[in-house]
Symmetry: C2
Amino acid sequence: MEQKLPQYKKLYEILRKHILSGAYEEGSMLPSENELCAVHGVTRPTVRQALEALVRDGYIIKKQGKGSIVKKPPQDIGILSISGTASAIGQQYLKTQILSKPQIMAWPENFSYELTDVERESGRIYLERLRLVNDQPVFYDINNLPNINLPRFTSRSFENKSLFELLRSNYQIEITGGEQKLKAIKATKQISELLKIKTGDPVLYLERKLNTNREGFHIYSTIYFNSEKHSIFGTF
Amino acid sequence: MEQKLPQYKKLYEILRKHILSGAYEEGSMLPSENELCAVHGVTRPTVRQALEALVRDGYIIKKQGKGSIVKKPPQDIGILSISGTASAIGQQYLKTQILSKPQIMAWPENFSYELTDVERESGRIYLERLRLVNDQPVFYDINNLPNINLPRFTSRSFENKSLFELLRSNYQIEITGGEQKLKAIKATKQISELLKIKTGDPVLYLERKLNTNREGFHIYSTIYFNSEKHSIFGTF
DNA sequence: TATTTTAACTTGTATTTACAAGTTGTGTAT
DNA sequence: ATACACAACTTGTAAATACAAGTTAAAATA
């Protein structure tokens, strides 16, 4: 499992882990660039590359003459993130329930998005999940990803684990961007039962296509979000 | 007006202008890094800083061993991330109706977001608009901006003009990012009348705080979006 | 001719060095 | 004690250099 990542990425991973694990308090200072150089045995440009990536991903804020301030990024669920009523939603309260285990199947004839030849010919991995905060259903998502070079994927456990985190840690697939369509719709009977709300209540509806660092590898999702007690939160 | 920008920023501005002006076709190659070094008399790290910024802002895509490919410029602060309604719907069909002319008032006691001292002490400019596509109301927005160094603002005309465009062209204020909260709610009587839908119909509700290139200058908006016939589209 | 190898590009990673510019606390002079 | 100057930090910008790794097309080979 020893991967030969570039040094700046290694450092990025280390610092990211430290920040997420709470080793640095929110608002506190990261060690100075020169200190990081000394500790990790790399030069300043390398350290700066790592810090730059952390800035880009929202983990720290840099201030000239001062230092790098740790800014724990909002609880993110993929690109999205949700913010709850007052009390923060820790990962520990977010549960994932698999409604339909990942299975390989063909793409539907008229899919919402245009597929590349490779994607279409490889088939898709289909996956339905219901995600709960404090045991209350918050959103229901349907995911499609091309079945390209994802060994053992269908047999991995998704319980209480982000799909994106799994893709990142096991296959080095990272989301680089995407596009999405948003609507507010009335909950159908099926959706209202899943999200435990009344039929006809407003539901956030998202349709999204995510790009990754793998050329021609996209993730297609449809999401129904119960915004009664929670909101979708995002920075840009 | 000769600003002493860093060299990499100067190069960034030059290349950005060239891309936007169409000097490089979409999909074509930018000169290689070494060529840019020679032409502009800087070293490769400097060129790379400029290109990195162009990648970050979505103007080019870099491919190792190949080069930098020019991408179509997105960039218009819309409803969702960067690139939204204005570009999605087409500016020409979008009309703006001012429901409440910009007026100066104090900030409410318990505002949704935390304000800086300067913001609070300066008061706010309050502004309500209804925006229409094909003469059908699509969204209603309430905007608050701090009354800091905005001469003649309340007397300017907003009809059929983007608030952001006005801020940029008259005050050199540009949106650099922000955060937002999203919900699907039932339309109240007031909202349903404004958007010409039925009371209780689902409406997209957005609350957002936008950051600008002016330190400590934020724009706070609340938006009600009628997603019956339109969706909010965004790339990220 | 078809295939493989190689050379000449491209961007990616990394070191070393230097100085500029912003921030903060310490020390001195008032 | 207060105000100011300065020193000692911090990050920002920039150069010169080297090699690694991916891409492409020309050249050599079968």
